[in-house]
Symmetry: C2
Subunit: 378 residues, 2 copies
């Protein structure tokens, strides 16, 4: 793996916290860390085309293997010359293993289950979980699909993202200690098989492991110990890390020092505005979240003074940008009054304009975090 | 009205047909004719922002006074400094009177009624039609709104489009000859009142009359005779012109010679791909239609070889633009395979990308029509 483009360079380590500024080098350019990773499930940040997105400087896009396998199929992406060609994105892309989506079908709504808000629903889409992998039914055409460490990695290689993620099992939050331990052991065997498959078919892609162990510190520690000894290129933190933010910060505070300092890490699926100030000092390098884009589509605009409701009555005559000093496409071209009108009139273009603003806000905020770390303020 | 910016300049008249190439000068620039007019009901072509739209060279946008009166209100648009400022469009805009929408609420679906496909529905939103105007209930908050020639023109002046349209009554297609005549007479009194209101409050806006008379040639002729003697800046053709394309072409062939040659005309709400080749030789200068944008949102892409179904199976591996020689943003940046994928995955950005292509196609097609007229081929 010595010839790989993938490289993590640490520019500065804070003396006040575990925060660090780094650069992840990939075949499609650099990701400055810490950074927000936009979710483009099907190869598109919802309502935003990739050329316009490129102007916002989103450095890493998160695509979902589960979705791409089913539509258009990983073979189609491969025929297109890989995901970058297929979606016309010139910058880094990361794909997950597909496991998260498959298991979330079994255990109900992803967010609810992870956050322990949901109840177990029927596992109708997942037919069987065995040592080999998980057999499930495609939501698209009812086809039976077997997802294993081997098929996931092969699909991810066809897709061709810069960073891949090992196939893991997502245990439900509500699980007996005994079942958690069995899932835990199996997930590490699956990750090892993912790595083996990756190393058998070399490519200029990086592979991240996924740290598991749920809300059990001992298991989390063991997971780090097992995985950091394997030649993974980076480490993602997966599964439930607590049922509220405080538990999450505590668990991450415990896990982060267990990870190798010289490898990049990624926090899976967490990146709401309230969490970010806590994630950065913990040394999180990248984190993906659909929160900024989803909030935008629901008319919640991010500003330095906090989130702002687009529909708020006073906004209908605010003939000025969302934020006076914002340099995003939306703020440069449109007023709050017009955006408020578009939202109230259910005009689809508001999805695009609000998304641009929120993603730009995240990019700008993360740049300011990096600058603050470099000044040793965090 | 001699100081007005509005001016119609005829560049070339075909020797083969009534087709002509012209330039409509407005306070916000020139509209080259014949041309397609995009429908931006609420101040936005669905799914397309006005800066991106500007790159497609759409020369005239059609906004609906009825919608803008209700949301955000014509006062808000006025406070913003007019519709161009409000929506950030630097080029010409035309507004209708609001009448069409109000009456279509009374007579059922607009298109169905006009095309005689619908049946009369209850007139629940329209409370009363009197000589003064029409009293209706706002769909937004149930408020009673009185729309009259005077209130329509005042609203249109607040909105501030380059071209306004007289307030008229849209009679249903299924109407007795007696009722049609009474509606016909009233609509002309309303148009005269619209003009009087306009002339009382001078502005650098143009006002078009609307030719009525339904499918009665004699009435159409009378309508032209009445309206062409009044100092309108142009003439729109409204109401039902037939229950199928053949009837429409015949009626337009009858009406067009009745209109003053030196004034621009506009065909209201008709502009599907099949009609355009017939409209141009009839001497239609501008026509608005939501067909190209609506078709795009339903996955129907316009090409020189005819409309093309985005969802068609073979398109999933067509790694080339929609049309090889198309210079639109979508074709320059994305392949058919990716667009097909976005459509199948229900990604909202496909609405934008497909709309860009179809509007660009219309602009390109109309440019080719103008060139063909200049070569005396039409």
């Amino acid at each position: 793996m010595t010839q790989k483009t993938f490289k993590f360079e640490i520019i500065y380590k804070s003396s006040k916290s575990r925060a660090r500024v780094g650069r992840i080098h990939t075949p499609h350019g650099v990701i400055e860390t810490p950074n927000f990773v936009g979710v483009g499930t099907n190869g598109s940040l919802k309502a935003l085309d990739n050329v316009l997105l490129n102007e916002i400087d989103l450095q890493l896009m998160f695509c979902n293997t589960y979705h791409l396998m089913i539509q258009p199929g990983s073979e189609v992406v491969q025929q297109a010359g890989g995901i970058h060609n297929f979606i016309n994105r010139k910058r880094p892309i990361i794909t997950d293993s597909g496991g998260f989506q498959v298991f979330s079908l079994a255990y109900g709504g992803v967010a609810n289950e992870i956050k322990s808000k949901g109840t177990k629903t029927n596992a109708s889409s997942v037919i069987k979980i065995t040592e080999e992998g998980v057999l499930f039914r495609s939501y698209k055409d009812g086809d039976r699909i077997l997802l294993t460490p081997e098929t996931s990695i092969r699909a991810q290689k066809k897709i061709g993202a810069d960073i891949m993620i090992s196939f893991d099992e997502l245990p439900p939050y509500h699980i007996s200690p005994d079942k958690l331990r069995r899932s835990f052991e199996r997930t590490h065997r699956w990750e090892k098989r993912s790595l083996d498959t990756h190393l058998l078919h070399p490519s200029d892609q990086a592979l991240y492991a996924v740290i598991h162990g749920g809300i059990d510190k001992k298991l989390r520690q063991t997971s780090c110990a097992i995985l950091r000894d394997l030649p993974f290129d980076g480490f993602a933190i997966g599964g439930s890390v607590g049922k509220n933010r405080e538990e999450m910060y505590e668990m991450l505070g415990y896990v982060m020092p267990e990870l190798p300092v010289d490898k990049p890490n990624h926090l899976l699926g967490i990146g709401d505005l309230e969490s970010v100030p806590h994630l950065v000092p913990l040394g999180i390098d990248t984190f993906d979240s659909s929160h900024p884009t989803k909030a935008a589509r629901h008319g919640l605009l991010f500003t330095k003074q906090g989130p702002l409701r687009l529909a708020k009555h006073g906004n209908s005559t605010r003939f000025e940008p969302i934020e006076a000093d914002c340099t995003c496409y939306t703020c440069k071209n449109y007023t709050m009054a017009y955006l408020n009108h578009l939202f109230k009139a259910h005009e689809p273009v508001i999805l695009t304009l609000a998304t641009i603003h929120n993603v730009h806000f995240m990019m700008d905020m993360m740049r300011r975090y990096r600058e603050a770390i470099l000044r040793d303020e965090i």
